[in-house]
């Protein structure tokens, strides 16, 4: 009986702990033609019609898939701030200067690159994992994506 209780409690604990598990990257991201690790060096925003768009210069640190034409790419996203007016899109994670990101990009109409849905993943430095994305070691994520072979 004691063992049964212990097993149940441990199982329940594992169930509860799994609420905090990092989600794996959605499969749709693997289809992005350009996948890279980059550092955002600078951004500027402007109105285009009724929308604000932000253009960020991103230095390519590591290519996971695809072939960027240069050491840096321009990433265009909807949202930003111009002269005290700001615009945000409810589901968009913006690339920000100074940050490093795992990016899943496709070419857009403007000649820049745009993230596909959920295609911006900040890289953070953690004491236990080192560079991590969504709670997983960056190297592991890149291996899962088929990069660095």
């Amino acid at each position: 009986m004691r063992i049964a209780i212990a097993t149940a409690v441990i199982a329940a604990w594992i169930g509860a702990a799994s609420f905090c598990d990092a989600s794996t990257l959605p499969g749709s991201l693997r289809l992005a033609p350009l996948q890279l690790v980059g550092r955002c060096d600078s951004c500027s925003s402007r109105w285009e019609g009724g929308s604000i768009y932000t253009y960020c210069e991103v230095s390519v640190l590591r290519v996971v898939r695809g072939a960027p034409q240069a050491d840096a790419v321009v990433v265009r996203q909807r949202g930003g701030v111009v002269d005290g007016l700001a615009q945000k899109v409810s589901h968009v994670t913006l690339v920000e200067p100074g940050g490093e990101f795992l990016l899943f990009l496709h070419p857009d109409d403007s000649g820049s690159w745009a993230p596909i849905a959920n295609g911006v993943h900040p890289i953070i430095e953690t004491p236990d994992l080192g560079q991590a994305v969504d709670g997983q070691p960056l190297d592991e994520v890149i291996r899962e994506l088929g990069g660095d072979r």
């Binding site: 007016l85 700001a86 940050g99």
Partner: protein, 279 residues
């Protein structure tokens, strides 16, 4: 022994139930953060809110594939939910049919359909909020619903994952929450209207949960601002959940805890019966 087990079971139940007052508010400065079940994004800066009322909106249903009256009724019901929950602290007004798309500078809050393309392929809809970056006053908000993910008005109470259609009223309720200044709340589970994901074939998000109600009251009715980030957090998306959620385990954890307690009670009963039958 019972106290010891209860001491273990109670935290498990609390973990499964999630924190109270977890609603999140859109703010003027939200750092990037990929969302996941159980993960709210941090929020910085000034919380966003409307300061003039009613918040008027127009509807462009041209690309919806639905009769205009059907669309209008579903969207009006969505806004009514929030207005009612706020005790009329925020009021909305349907201002007519439109044939225009979203425009953050026209001062007209437009709900329209378009193909959101690769940038938002898995998305039912999105809300674009234009605001004063210093005061946080919302000046314009447009809702864009994705023609690539069919929305229909499903029968009330439908819960059929094999139905490929999203429920217009449920999705509109979520987006109207964004339009009103609420962000995603991902720690209380998918039943919360402002959870970052929704599924096709269910109407659950037509109904505000107590946390959603607390959120709208905090902004417009002087309710307790106990949610996260300036109020709160958000980000993420109004996306389609094709993966299933680890929050699905929450009821199982609670059930398991209940079974543990029941087993202990039975065991004690058996023990006492055994003792009483002994000579």
């Amino acid at each position: 022994m019972r106290r010891a087990v209860a001491g273990l079971v109670l935290p498990i139940c609390l973990l499964a139930a999630g924190p109270l007052g977890a609603f999140q508010r859109e703010t003027s400065d939200d750092p990037g953060c990929p969302e996941a079940p159980g993960v709210n994004c941090p929020h910085r800066g000034t919380p966003l809110a409307w300061m003039t009322f009613p918040v008027a909106y127009v509807i462009n249903s041209d690309a919806s594939g639905l009769p205009f009256a059907t669309v209008r009724d579903a969207i009006s019901a969505a806004f009514s939910s929030w207005q009612g929950a706020s005790g009329n602290g925020i009021t909305y007004q349907f201002a007519g049919q439109s044939h225009s798309g979203s425009d953050g500078q026209d001062g007209q809050n437009t709900i329209s359909w378009l193909d959101l393309g690769g940038d938002a392929a898995d998305t039912f809809g999105q809300t674009i909020i234009t605001f004063d970056s210093r005061s946080g006053e919302i000046l314009d908000a447009d809702i864009e619903l994705n023609t690539a993910t069919p929305l229909r008005v499903l029968p009330a109470g439908e819960d059929n994952p094999s139905d490929p259609n999203g429920d217009l009223q449920a999705i509109a309720t979520h987006e109207a929450g964004h339009l009103s200044g609420l962000a995603h709340e991902n720690t209380l589970g998918p039943q919360v209207v402002m959870f970052f994901e929704d599924t096709t074939g269910n109407t659950a998000h037509r109904n505000l949960t107590p946390d959603d109600q607390a959120g709208i009251q905090a902004i417009y009715s002087g309710g307790s601002d106990s949610g996260g980030g300036g109020g709160g957090g958000g980000g993420g998306g109004c996306s389609i959940d094709r993966r299933g959620s680890s929050w699905d385990l929450a009821p199982a954890a609670v059930l398991l805890a209940a079974l543990v307690l029941r087993e202990i009670r039975r065991s004690r009963k058996r023990c006492s019966e055994t003792r009483s039958s002994q000579p």
